[in-house]
């Protein structure tokens, strides 16, 4: 319902008043470089990847130094243990894991003798039945909207994350949902485009292929993405006061470690 309120605001801005955007210079603080870990374990036979990098000052270019030579290990609660090897700078992989729903995975990263740990439980998989396209109109602009349909299992909390790719290119919007108000029902999650987004490549046109990656994530990871999404619109002054999303990694590292299910489903725009 909160997002509805923003829709209203954007609607009013779009229709009733003259809003305008401009790029401004801002004075920002600097901070010591932070360790960033992004770890994903999935239930398909693919290379499981842990990325380790560092943050840079806001004013720097978007080039994030890779962290090389870390010791990376993942264990599960069934007594298995996998060491990850660094394939490209800062990217650590293992081909041997196949994540299983219900298992808890624990990440252990050692960088310069600092140890970072995190654990995540892979939820049971809920599979999408279909994805559909509908038209949505804001003011005078009509866009295509991708919706995912599935049946939510009753009696257990479920958390969903989607990644939308258009012609193989990932869009930047974050899509996270839970079943708090929809437990056990035939559900539909709409992947709203960003009303402020003017990038034509994010606009679905005839012939485009929209691919949705559906993930079942655990509660901590939901909170991580949900916090990030809450902050992603309205920005300072307009929306929620931004802060660092609650990471499930110890010792002050940024990022997350997520064991989640994977399903990809696509549709071609007629």
């Amino acid at each position: 319902m909160k997002s509805l309120f923003y829709l209203v605001i954007f609607f009013i801005i779009a229709v009733a008043v003259t809003s305008c955007e401009k790029v401004i210079d801002v004075k920002t603080d600097t901070s010591p470089s932070q360790l960033v870990i992004e770890g994903n374990i999935t239930n398909i036979r693919q290379q499981q990847t842990i990325k380790i990098s560092r943050s840079v000052d806001y004013t720097n270019p978007n080039v994030y130094p890779a962290v090389r030579g870390a010791l990376v290990n993942v264990k599960d609660n069934a007594g298995n243990s996998w060491n990850f090897t660094e394939e490209t700078p800062g990217v650590y992989r293992s081909v041997n894991i196949l994540g299983r729903p219900g298992r808890t995975y624990t990440l252990n990263v050692n960088v310069d003798n600092n140890v970072y740990t995190a654990s995540s439980t892979m939820p049971a998989q809920v599979r999408a039945d279909s994805i559909t396209l509908t038209d949505i109109t804001f003011g005078s602009r009509t866009r295509k909207l991708v919706a995912v349909h599935y049946t939510d299992p009753k009696g257990v909390p479920n958390y969903y994350r989607y990644i939308l790719r258009i012609n193989g290119r990932q869009t930047n919007r974050l899509y996270v949902y839970d079943d708090r108000l929809k437990d056990g029902n035939l559900s539909k999650n709409e992947l709203y485009p960003d009303t402020e987004d003017d990038d034509e490549r994010n606009e679905l046109k005839s012939g485009d292929v929209a691919e949705v990656e559906m993930q079942n994530i655990d509660k901590n990871i939901f909170n991580y993405w949900f916090t990030l999404r809450q902050q992603s619109r309205g920005g300072p002054g307009g929306g929620t006061t931004p802060g660092n999303p609650p990471s499930n990694i110890s010792n002050g590292a940024l990022g997350y470690f997520s064991a989640h299910t994977y399903q990809a489903i696509s549709i071609t725009v007629p």
Partner: protein, 778 residues
């Protein structure tokens, strides 16, 4: 009991003054002051009597009543009121005398007066500090967004009051949050005072007689909010003649009817307003725009009946509704309803009583219209309120005492899905609360130089069953749950709120004042965005939420020069706030039965200096107000547990207001506002997550948005005075005349065509906006 000593100090004083007054052989003159043309009672008119055997002075109360007690003898009675002609009468006082006084409106040319309907030197003399009285006539001339004159926007031009944002009617007083303002319309609480997401307020200026804002030193008859009281009173209705007034504007039109029902016994007033925006939408060629709704309307109505000089009843009400809808997607409706029944009874020439029964309700509904994701969610907060207030006028004392009781019901959320909806039906338990209080205060003229206003308010809050009440672990999981039956007390809080103000007059032109007050608050708004939203959640103090408490001390220096033509004041304050509320990361506030598990509790402090210079008479009138202030919050778990600036912490806040009466028909006005940008959190670093740039934040609200500066202009043309009753005027306005792009929000993102860099993008809401309004009256 730390308060005991306060009680012991107060009680003897109060008894002493009553007996003291009764022991002397004196007579009382009392009555009601009214406008001669309309019969409206005049609030705050100055009544002075002077004679060889003594002199005394007072101001009329909220119902136009005054009472003065002096020794037997001959006296001259002087009644003055801003923009009215002075009334002078001679009387022989040899028994208790009733004297009603009618005042004629002054010549408009000579009496363009900026503010204060009060006694001219009240600024200096009254012990009350931190109060701003808004002259409703002022609103006719000031420039406003879309030409919609608005009480809540005008008070934002006063020192110590900060705007809720561009074009927004929300406001912050002395570092408080926007839900810490008690907004009363004929004594009824208005929970959501905004229309159309805050661009307009619920107060239709046509229907309003007076608006007083208390920023500090609250008199003890007010309670329930930490920061301020905005006491708005509706017009009673012309008791002499039938009249009609209205206006046509770009956004809305207004119409007011008033007149006598029974001459000099009963009159009515009804005032309505409605926007046209949706009619414009309907005219749009695009069928998609046509199907949208965007409107609000409101209705104020009041009737009164005077049984005799001693007994009067008033019935007043407000009804307002907003409707927003996007075709096939959703609708959002919200509105306030209030009703107030009051009975004034004058027991004797010294004891005035008012009894009020009040009902108020705020509700909203949100409807999602999708064929799968559909539901209708509703929520409301409803109060029944009883107030009994007495005022006792003696020679040197005005005593005020009474009691109040309010029953609250909050229905947090009811979710009703359609038949094929993906949503489950959900009904979150209603919450019930009883808020009661008793108060006493005394305004005591100790000497010609020293005036005191002191009192005590005792407030009780009880959270009542039925329902299941939980406590929570730090993780937000339920720790314990207990079920209570209807009417059982779940939690009780008792607070004593001492109030004290004093003024010391150095000489006729200069005075110093000091005040201390404690306020508590038991109704809290949960909103995790910067601006107010129609779907804000209300919660009561509970087993998890303790009453918010604020203590404020203030000192002031007041100076009037050139026969009170110029007023200066400097006030400084320091405020401590306890049990303030914030939200955890990823807080789910809506439709959440365990919403109290999502909260953090902390403290706050605010301090500042307010400077105010006002020119009250002449062709050019206006004021300059400047506030230097700081407001900070502290929560365990946020910003490493150290103080951080609240979002509305704006160091400098300046407003310059000028009104120039060019000639008989033209009035020009302008205001300029400048304020430091909001305290916001900018990223200190950045990193990559999932191929997308994410930002790293260090200190909370340590950065500043760019400043806001805006010049608004308006011109009012009065129609020719043809000697007939029909009068009309045109108002032309330019909002943001310099077309400055003031910051509304700032977003950080990758440069669209160069993903190797990031940029900060500022969004501005309003550029230059012209407006025109035509007003009429007959």
């Amino acid at each position: 009991m730390q308060y005991k000593s306060t009680i012991y100090l107060l009680l003897p004083l109060l008894f002493f003054c009553c007996f003291n007054a009764a022991a002397q052989k004196k007579f009382t003159i009392s009555g009601t002051v009214r406008d001669a043309a309309t019969g409206e009672t005049l609030i705050g008119a100055s009544v002075k009597i002077d004679g060889p055997n003594g002199k005394a002075g007072t101001a009329t109360n909220g119902y136009g009543f005054y009472s003065l007690t002096v020794a037997e003898g001959t006296y001259t009675v002087n009644v003055s009121y801003v923009s009215y002609q002075l009334v002078t009468k001679s009387i022989q006082l040899s028994k208790n005398t009733s004297l009603n006084l009618d005042m004629k409106a002054g010549n408009e040319l000579t009496a363009v007066v900026v503010s204060a309907r009060d006694r001219k030197d009240q600024n200096v003399r009254s012990p009350q500090m931190g109060v701003e009285q808004l002259d409703m006539k002022l609103l006719d001339n000031l420039p406003v967004l879309f030409g919609e004159k608005d009480v809540l926007k005008t008070i934002q031009l006063l020192p110590g009051v900060k705007s809720g944002g561009e074009g927004n009617t929300g406001f912050f007083v002395r570092g408080g949050a926007s839900d810490q303002n008690l907004i009363l319309l004929d004594e009824a609480t208005v929970y959501n005072s905004s229309h159309l997401l805050g661009f307009f307020s619920t107060f239709n200026a046509d229907a309003i007689k007076t608006a007083d804002l208390y920023k500090g030193g609250m008199p003890s008859q007010y309670g329930g909010r930490l920061s301020s009281v905005l006491d708005v009173k509706m017009n009673d209705g012309n008791s002499k003649n039938f009249s009609m007034q209205g206006g046509l504007g770009l956004i809305s039109s207004r119409l007011k009817l008033e007149g006598p029902l029974i001459k000099d016994k009963s009159s009515f007033m009804i005032s309505a307003r409605r926007t046209y925006i949706d009619l414009i939408l309907k005219a749009a060629p695009d069928s998609n725009i046509k199907g949208n709704t965007l409107n609000f309307y409101d209705l104020n109505a009041k009737v009164n009946y005077k049984f005799d000089d001693k007994n009067t009843i008033y019935l007043s009400g407000y009804f307002g509704q907003d409707n927003i809808g996007i075709k096939d997607l959703f609708t959002n409706d919200w509105g306030n309803t209030t009703a107030t029944l009051r009975y004034n009874h004058i027991f004797n020439s010294r004891l005035f009583s008012n009894t009020s029964l009040i009902y108020n309700k705020y509700s909203y509904s949100v409807e999602l219209l999708d064929e799968v994701n559909n539901f209708r969610a509703t929520s409301l907060i409803r109060d029944f309120n009883f107030k009994q207030d007495f005022q006792y006028f003696s020679n040197k004392h005005t005593l005020r005492f009474g009691a109040q009781a309010t029953h609250h019901r909050i229905a947090p959320s009811d979710l009703a899905p359609g038949s094929s909806s993906s949503f489950n039906p959900l009904s979150i338990e209603n919450r019930y609360g009883l808020e009661s209080s008793a108060y006493i205060s005394d305004e005591y003229n100790v000497s010609n130089r020293l005036n005191l206003l002191y009192g005590l308010r005792a407030s009780w809050f009880s959270l009542l069953g039925p329902g299941t009440f939980s406590t929570y672990t730090a993780n937000g999981d339920i720790a314990t749950s207990q079920t209570y039956e209807r009417g059982k007390f779940v939690q009780n809080y008792f607070n004593l709120e001492p109030r004290f103000s004093a003024s010391y007059t150095i000489n006729e032109r200069n005075s110093i004042k000091a005040s201390y007050n404690r306020n508590t608050q038991n109704i809290h708004i949960l909103s995790n965005s910067g601006s107010s939203s129609p779907t804000d959640q209300y919660v009561m103090s509970s087993n998890n939420i303790r009453p918010e408490i604020a203590d404020q001390v203030a000192f002031g220096f007041f100076k009037n020069i050139k026969d009170n033509a110029y007023e200066f004041s400097a006030e400084t304050y320091y405020k401590w706030m306890q049990n303030q509320i914030e939200y955890k990361d990823a807080a789910r506030l809506l439709a959440n039965a365990d919403v109290e598990s999502q909260l953090l509790f902390g403290s706050g402090r605010a301090y500042g200096l307010e400077l105010y210079a006002k020119k009250r008479t002449g062709k050019l009138t206006g004021w300059i107000s400047y506030t230097l202030s700081r407001t900070e919050r502290k929560f365990a778990g946020l910003n490493n547990g150290s103080y951080f600036p609240a979002r509305q912490d704006r160091t400098h806040d300046l407003a310059v207001v000028g009104i120039y009466k060019l000639n008989k028909r033209w009035t020009l006005s302008g205001n300029y506002i400048y304020n430091t940008g909001n305290a916001v959190t900018y990223p200190a670093g950045k990193y990559e997550i999932g191929g997308v740039t994410s930002f790293f934040y260090t200190q909370r609200n340590a950065s500043r948005m760019p400043y806001t500066g805006r010049l608004d202009l308006s011109a009012t043309l009065e129609g020719k005075d043809t000697g007939k009753r029909f009068r009309s005027s045109w108002s032309f306005g330019l909002y943001n005349a310099l077309n400055r792009k003031n910051p509304y929000s700032i977003d950080f993102r990758d440069v669209p065509n160069d993903p190797t860099r990031t940029e900060a993008v500022q969004t501005a809401l309003f550029g230059i906006i012209p407006s025109v309004t035509w007003n009429f009256k007959f």
